[in-house]
Amino acid sequence: MDKNKFLKTLMSELQKKGAGDIALELRNDTKSQIKFSNNEIAATKIWQHEYVAIMFELNKRIITSYMEEFSRKDIISFVKKAMSFAKAMEPNKKYHGLAEGPFKYKKHERTHDKKVSKIGDKSIDIVEAAMNAAFSEGAKRCNGVFEFAESEETLLTSNNVETKDKGTGLYLSFRSHVEKNASGYSNQVCRILSELKPEKSGIESAKIAVAAKDPQKIKAGKYNLIMGPYPFGDFLENVGYSARISAIESGHSFFRDKLGKKVASKEVTVYDDGTYPGGLETSKFDAEGVPKQKTLLIDKGKLKTYLHNTSTAKRYNTKTTANAGLLYPTNTNLILKKGKVSKKKIFDGFTGLHITNLWYTRFQNYLKGNFSTIPRDGIFLYKNGKLMHPVKDIRISDNMLRIFSNIVESTKEQSQHSGWEVTGPIVSGSVKIKNVNITRSTG
């Protein structure tokens, strides 16, 4: 059955049985991955998945599901099961509906490149180019993944939304090793093939790895930090997550009861921007069809809004921020406003630690923001702007609100990131933070 006809038939059959709000999102995703380890290809992988993500409401009972077979017979059997399931559910008294269309959409730049789907076995050359660049800078062992993906999305809702979009994405995650305790990491994401610079990842990660040789232990205590864009993205991502109204309601947010209040230093301005040119999460519309937008989350340290979909916005007497996921608000591209200092100048006179990667961030208490996380790969101690030596075996054990209140400055050069440690996507420069609590194993 033709996919558009399938969506309309499914919509109509659900409506005939009494469903009210309905959102049907047809996705066709193709992704390939080259996984490499120890300078060799560990595995090549291809995924091709097509499905319809479904959300419907029956007398305020909210049901989610999906279908991946596309015949009329499949629709009939799905609707039968869906109705019996929905009737046995209880009403969600806090549900307030989907956005009412139709909407006008803008075309965004740098979101799709037809060359991406044709990369095929040239992907091996891309990996090889990155590895050769790393070797030329002194790397002994290279590990990582290179992914290229294309997706098509069709959205049909009961509230006059019928629209389509498509996008491509590229991801290069690259780790160089020089010796057992000396590694460096580089992360690159983009949506256009010509923007991918494999050699840059090889060189960047190898340089960090070479500089990280012979790391030393340091004492626990308070240190100033300069965090690279990727590790700072981990903190930025937590800001984005905590701004979702669903996180506020769930007790998973350090922004609870903080709307309109100071939550960061005046150097911090953060946007959730679903229109950011070339952003991995840039697309025409959110999951209920509202055109994506740029939302000011934190303005010079002050929390300006939570992130909403139409239903949650109505509940709080505000407007949607175009952050609808299928059910709950979600982030798009999280952007830290550019700072004024250059990435070279930020180290002038700096005393503290330069962090190039993080992993395993966990909270003791989401409401308070108490957490710890572990610097990974190259960590460097600076004194009065001079690199002293690499460092190992430390942990950042602090509070997220305190961290953001202690941000001193950030660089004007920025980059977009997404990966294993930072799902993102985020756009950030390097960020200087004062007086961060560093701990280490006591035995």
């Binding site: 595995a43 909210i62 991946e68 769930s250 108490n370 572990i374 942990r395 294993w420 035995g443």
Partner: protein, 468 residues
């Protein structure tokens, strides 16, 4: 299923080795948030994963479109890219030689959750919520998430192995925030079983969550900060379990040891020549055992069709063996011990844990406490993490107490155990009889694969640990 699996395997005739995993799954889920039934979901999924070795290169393809022409196209593309990758292979990938099996492995439930209506399941969640609200504890945030699934799998490989399996799983997850005096404490917990609805009663969710809420309230009202110093640390089963998983299970995964997971999940402080090295005190035995019926890590044949078995990771304090799939076993000249697991057909099988726990000793928990002159009893934890080589770990106490002269005196607020892995296991001087297994979801791989596991062990005591 058979025809499609055979067809897909036939597409790999030029490969040295190939395997096909065909799956069908049914999953239902229910979410009650702060007393409000937020949503119900049902998901029916099927698809195929094909993995092959060609010219020393490993290729994997997955699709949920089971049209033959489509499967052919995806597999052919995979073969093309895998062949292209072989030019960078100085050490062609090989798999260990393993026995072949033709087995049918079906876990039967006494009471299938699918036979219980969504209304009854929601009633179960509402009942837990209203029982919790009847207590005098203020719990403004209450999350209850219940799901169950049945996964049917067919595994075929070019060596003649054919495994048909049907594994049911049922999970319950709660997260609460307790507030008192403008202060708050949070806690989550997960239950998991392959035994069907009968497990729900055995979990005693209401009792567990009410007890936890009361303890969190007590911790707010009476909890004191730890005075930095040297203490004996008594770890409850909950803490022993997470330490067994994070600092024994993960670093003993052979793919980490060999560097295959370096770019994502990390490597290991353990090297391949450390088998036989003393890593803990002589009374420490840590195992990973997938064959425990009813547990969330239960399986008998792994996702490479290899029969699994109990693995002693640490025996009498010495590193005993690693977790292997066929690739890592071949590199180390060994047999696989059946540790290859994939979250679904859409993931490549990689080396994973199942049920990882410290084996029991001779002490009762009361005896350990009575024998402790001064110590901290960390009964459960909330925040934790460990570095990418599994060497530096941290656990922050949730329910914790100060122990003096063999008696529990008062609750402690968030004591921090931050310690290296060798120090942790070498410091163990008493092990209890009271092994408990706790359900968890373990993450690894890229894209990330969440695998059902249990972490566990008895109460143990670590002698003379510096606490700040």
């Amino acid at each position: 299923m058979d025809d499609m699996a055979k067809y897909a395997l036939g597409l790999c005739r030029d490969a040295k080795y190939a395997e096909v995993r065909l799956e069908q799954s049914e999953e239902d889920s229910f979410f009650l948030k702060n007393g409000n039934p937020e949503l119900g979901g049902f998901y029916r999924q099927s698809g195929i994963g094909v993995r092959l070795l060609i010219n020393g290169s490993l290729g994997f393809a997955s699709t949920n479109n089971l049209d033959k022409a489509h499967v052919k196209k995806v597999v052919q593309n995979t073969i093309k890219i895998a062949k292209a990758g072989s030019r960078l292979m100085k050490n062609p990938i090989e798999f260990s030689k393993e026995k072949t099996y033709k087995k049918r492995f079906i876990i039967k439930m006494k009471k299938d959750p699918r036979d219980v209506s969504p209304a009854e399941k929601l009633k179960l969640l509402s009942g837990i919520d209203s029982n919790l609200l009847k207590t005098k504890v203020k719990v403004p945030v209450r999350h209850f998430y219940f799901e169950h699934e049945i996964r049917k799998k067919l595994f075929l490989n070019t060596e003649g192995t054919k495994i048909t399996s049907q594994i049911p799983r049922m999970s319950f997850y709660w997260f609460i925030t307790v507030k008192e005096n403008n202060d708050a404490r949070q806690k989550y917990f997960q239950y998991d079983s392959t035994k069907g609805m009968g497990a729900f009663k055995k979990w005693k969710v209401s009792e567990g969550i009410i007890d936890c809420a009361k303890k969190l309230k007590e911790n707010i009202l009476k909890g004191k900060k730890v005075k930095p110093g040297i203490y004996n640390i008594i770890c409850g089963p909950n803490v022993t379990g997470i330490a067994s998983h994070e600092s024994v299970g993960h670093p003993y995964e052979a793919d980490r040891i060999l560097g295959r997971e370096s770019a994502q999940a990390g490597e290991s402080f353990v090297t391949r020549n450390m088998v036989g090295d003393q890593i803990g005190s002589e009374i420490v035995n840590v195992v990973d055992d997938p064959t425990l019926e009813g547990t969330s890590g239960y399986y008998l044949y792994d996702d490479e069709g290899v029969k699994t078995r109990k693995r002693y990771l640490i025996k009498n304090g010495k590193i005993n063996e690693f977790l292997h799939n066929r690739e890592t076993a071949a590199v180390m000249g060994l047999q696989s011990n059946g540790s290859a697991r994939a979250e679904t057909f859409a993931n490549e099988p990689i080396v994973r844990m199942a049920n990882t726990f410290t084996e029991p000793g001779d002490w009762t928990e009361d005896e350990i406490i009575a024998d402790t002159k001064e110590g901290i009893f960390m009964k459960s934890f909330q925040e934790w993490n460990i570095d990418d080589k599994r060497f530096n770990q941290k656990y922050v106490g949730s329910e914790a107490y100060y122990v003096k002269n063999g008696r529990i005196l008062y609750p402690l607020f968030a004591p921090v155990l931050e310690i290296t892995t060798p120090k942790f296991w070498a410091a163990v001087d008493a092990i209890g009889k009271n092994v408990e297994l706790r359900a968890a979801t373990c993450g690894k791989g890229e894209p990330g694969q969440g695998i059902p596991v249990t972490t566990g062990g008895p109460t143990i005591r670590l002698k003379n640990i510096k606490i700040r």
